[in-house]
Every structure is written in structure tokens, then in C-alpha cells.
């Protein structure tokens, strides 16, 4: 009964996250009851289709399980709250890290701690308010756009409209995706507001008598930040898409490969760009880190490409 699984999969995608597994389990049992009582234990494909058709389109069924219409579609509401929480926590984390770095670099006795704490609080609050505003706007637009494009609430819906279940059985680790989004957001905030972090520790090493080859020229580094930000934003998009589908599909893996190619090119360029560094051009310092990131990126890219080309599931 492939068509039944496709139907349940389509409903599952439209349900809010909370309790969706149990709803699907119950619906499957009820639909099988309905099919069996009408057509016996070995129904034909068209008999299953007729029961599904009568039951209603996936959007209609999911709509019945959701609450009344909201400005943000109930299908996305859990994801919306999750992303708002992630963004707020990441901003708090980022500004706290910046605060700690300031304490370490300036010294506790030279700092006006209450002022900096107040700044930490207000920065987090205002950044969170504007970030949540943008996220809300995006979700409202998605809800509006998707709802107008979603024709399966109409009576014209037939089981032939059901999408195929993605073949991939490789499930996404939710915790991994959420952690990735948090780390990327923290990195975006820190590197954009405090790029000097690149040279943090250089002078301490020097004072301690160690020789670190070079420092990074922050002005030149800032030119690269635009590209780094773009790659990070695509990476966030990749993780959100993985969270929505719950499986690594071919198109999602393709996004990962694009991210891989872009970041390898970028970090190799940064490694080779001599105008980015001040001092000896050896591997002790940021230059070595960029090369390491590019090499790790290559390994990941090869793995993903092999999986995309040779893994049927």
C-alpha cells in the first residue's frame, strides 16, 4: 500500500511537530480499519485510493488537527518557535562571549562592569527583537505564499497529487542541526562585531616568548567576511531544510556540496592571499587554520559527493 504511505507522509509534513507521530500512527490504524471493513484484507490500489480520496486531502486532514487559521501556518509554527529560541540563545551566547573576551583583554580592574553588563543585556535584547521581527516576517510570507499555492484543500484533489516519499533513509539528527545553527549564528555575530578575535592571543604568545608567525590584517579580513557570511547563511538554510524534511534528500545533499565547494575555494584563496597577513607566511597562526578548514572541507566534500552519486538510498 505505497499510496497509503505516501498519503500519511504528506499529512505528516503538514502537521505541527508536537504529537505528529501519534496522530500518524492512529490515522494509519483508522484508515486500515476503514479499508479492511469495505474491501477486505487484500484491497486493490484503486480501492485504497477511493478511501483516501473520501478521507480528504492531506492539507484538509492536517488542518482539522491544527487549530484555527493563524498568521503563521500551524505546519510551520513549531519550527518558527524553535528558530526564534535558537536565534535568541545564540545572540545571548555571542554577546556573552564578546563580553568575556573584553574582560580578558581589558582586565577586570580597567572595566566598568555594570556598564558592560547593561550593554550585554541591551545588545542581546535589541538584536533579538529585530532578529525575531525579521524571522516573523519571513514566516508570515512563507505561510501566505504556501497557502495560496496549496491547492489540495480544494475538492479537485486526488491521490495522484501525492508526492513521492523521498528515497533517502538517512535521517537527520535534530540535535546536530540545531547545534550547527546555534554555532553558525554565534560565529556570525562574533566575527562581524569583533573581527579582532582573529588576532586574539597573538600578543600573549609573544609576551610569553613564543613566536607566532603572523597576524591577520583585519581590514583585509573584513573584505572576506561578506563571502564567509554568505556561506554561513546557506549553511543555516541547509540545516533548516534538513530539519523540515527530516531526511537527507538528494537536493539537500546537493546544497551541502555547493557549500563545500564554496568554502574550500574561499579558504584556499585566504590561505594563498599574502596581503591578508602581516609577518612570516608560515602555518603558525590563522593561515594554518584556514588551510586546515579547507582540507577538512575537501574530505567532507568527497564523502558527500560519493554519497550523492553512489548511494541509491
Amino acid at each position: 500500500m505505497k499510496i497509503l504511505d505516501q498519503y500519511l507522509y504528506a499529512i505528516n509534513r503538514k502537521l505541527p511537530t508536537q504529537g505528529k507521530d501519534e496522530i500518524i500512527k492512529e490515522l494509519k490504524s483508522l484508515l486500515l480499519d476503514s479499508i479492511e471493513s469495505r474491501y477486505g484484507k487484500t484491497p486493490t490500489d484503486s480501492e485504497v485510493r477511493s478511501v483516501i480520496q473520501e478521507f480528504g486531502s492531506p492539507a484538509k486532514v492536517a488542518h482539522e488537527y491544527g487549530s484555527a487559521s493563524h498568521i503563521i501556518n500551524s505546519e510551520y509554527s513549531d519550527l518558527y518557535y524553535l528558530i526564534c529560541k535558537i536565534v535568541s540563545l545564540s545572540l545571548l551566547g555571542s554577546f556573552t562571549i564578546i563580553f568575556i573576551i573584553q574582560v580578558i583583554s581589558e582586565g577586570l580592574q580597567n572595566m566598568n562592569i555594570p556598564y558592560h553588563l547593561l550593554q550585554l543585556f541591551s545588545n542581546t535584547l535589541f538584536a533579538a527583537i529585530s532578529a525575531i521581527g525579521v524571522i516573523t516576517l519571513i514566516f508570515i510570507l512563507i505561510s501566505k505564499y504556501v497557502e495560496s499555492a496549496d491547492l489540495d484543500l480544494s475538492k479537485d484533489w486526488t491521490p495522484d497529487d501525492l508526492p513521492e516519499i523521498p528515497a533517502s533513509k538517512e535521517k537527520v539528527s535534530k540535535a546536530e542541526s540545531i547545534a550547527s545553527i546555534i554555532f553558525i549564528l554565534i560565529a556570525i555575530t562574533i566575527f562581524n562585531t569583533f573581527p579582532e578575535i582573529m588576532n586574539l592571543g597573538f600578543y600573549d604568545f609573544q609576551d610569553a616568548g613564543f613566536s607566532v608567525g603572523h597576524t591577520v590584517l583585519i581590514d583585509r579580513f573584513y573584505d572576506y567576511m561578506l563571502f564567509i557570511n554568505i556561506i554561513w547563511l546557506i549553511e543555516i538554510f541547509y540545516n533548516v531544510a534538513a530539519l523540515i524534511t527530516g531526511r537527507i534528500t538528494k537536493s539537500i545533499r546537493f546544497i551541502k556540496i555547493i557549500i563545500g565547494v564554496a568554502s574550500i575555494s574561499l579558504f584556499f584563496t585566504m590561505y594563498n592571499d599574502t596581503s591578508l597577513y602581516l609577518g612570516k607566511l608560515d602555518l603558525f597562526g590563522a593561515r594554518g587554520v584556514f588551510l586546515l578548514i579547507a582540507i577538512i572541507g575537501c574530505i567532507e566534500l568527497i564523502t558527500n559527493t560519493v554519497k550523492l552519486l553512489f548511494k541509491s538510498n
Binding site: G19, I23, K25, E26, L27, S29, L30, L32, D33, S34, S37, F55, G56, K60, V61, E64, Y65
Partner: protein, 116 residues
């Protein structure tokens, strides 16, 4: 002739809406009354149909879930048979609420009967 046809359609549409509202209003009471013994979704549909109450499956199943969330029903998964089934039965809270709802229904019924 066409005008008459249109007004007939409008009348039918209005009547359908009002009757639907009327049925919807009594649905929770009907469901609670019929879950004094445990039933699963499909058996409840059949039971209601046998009593002359037709309700769409995709209206009843989400309603059962909502009533469970509100604490008016309790549920239990029976996994002893080949297909796991979720059974629902009225809770103590559901019983006491149903009692009050029935009283209200009888009260309204008396008043409306006098009006007819």
C-alpha cells in the same frame, strides 16, 4: 424562473449551513455520551452511524484528540491485536461535564419546545 432557481440555491445553502452549525453544536455531547464504554475511532463512527448520526471521519478523529487534550476523554493504545488501536473512554471530568451539559440541553429543549 432563473431568479427562482437562484433563490432556491441560496435557501438550500443557508439551510445547510444552519443545520451543520446545529449538528456541530451537539457533536461533543453526542461523542461523550457514546464513550461510556471504550471505543476506537472507526468503531465509534459505525456506532454513531447505526444511531443515525453521520459524521465525517476527518472531523471525528481530530475531535477525539482535542477532547483527550482537554481531559474529557482518556485513551489507551491496545497493541494485543495485529493492528495497534487507540481506544477512548470518557474521563471522570468528562462525566461530570456531560451531566451538566445534558441538564442544559434538557432545559433548552423545554424552552424551545414551548416556542415551537
Amino acid at each position: 424562473m432563473t431568479d427562482q432557481k437562484v433563490s432556491q440555491d441560496v435557501r438550500q445553502g443557508l439551510l445547510d449551513n444552519i443545520l451543520q452549525e446545529l449538528r456541530r453544536g451537539t457533536l461533543v455531547m453526542v461523542v461523550l455520551m457514546n464513550l461510556k464504554n471504550q471505543e476506537y475511532g472507526y468503531s465509534l463512527i459505525n456506532k454513531l452511524q447505526a444511531l443515525g448520526i453521520s459524521i465525517e471521519q476527518n472531523t471525528l478523529y481530530p475531535l477525539l484528540r482535542r477532547l483527550e487534550k482537554q481531559g474529557l476523554l482518556v485513551s489507551l493504545w491496545d497493541t494485543s491485536e495485529s493492528r495497534p488501536r487507540k481506544y477512548y473512554v470518557i474521563s471522570d471530568l468528562g462525566r461530570s461535564i456531560l451531566e451538566s451539559v445534558i441538564k442544559e440541553w434538557q432545559h433548552n429543549n423545554q424552552i424551545i419546545s414551548k416556542m415551537i
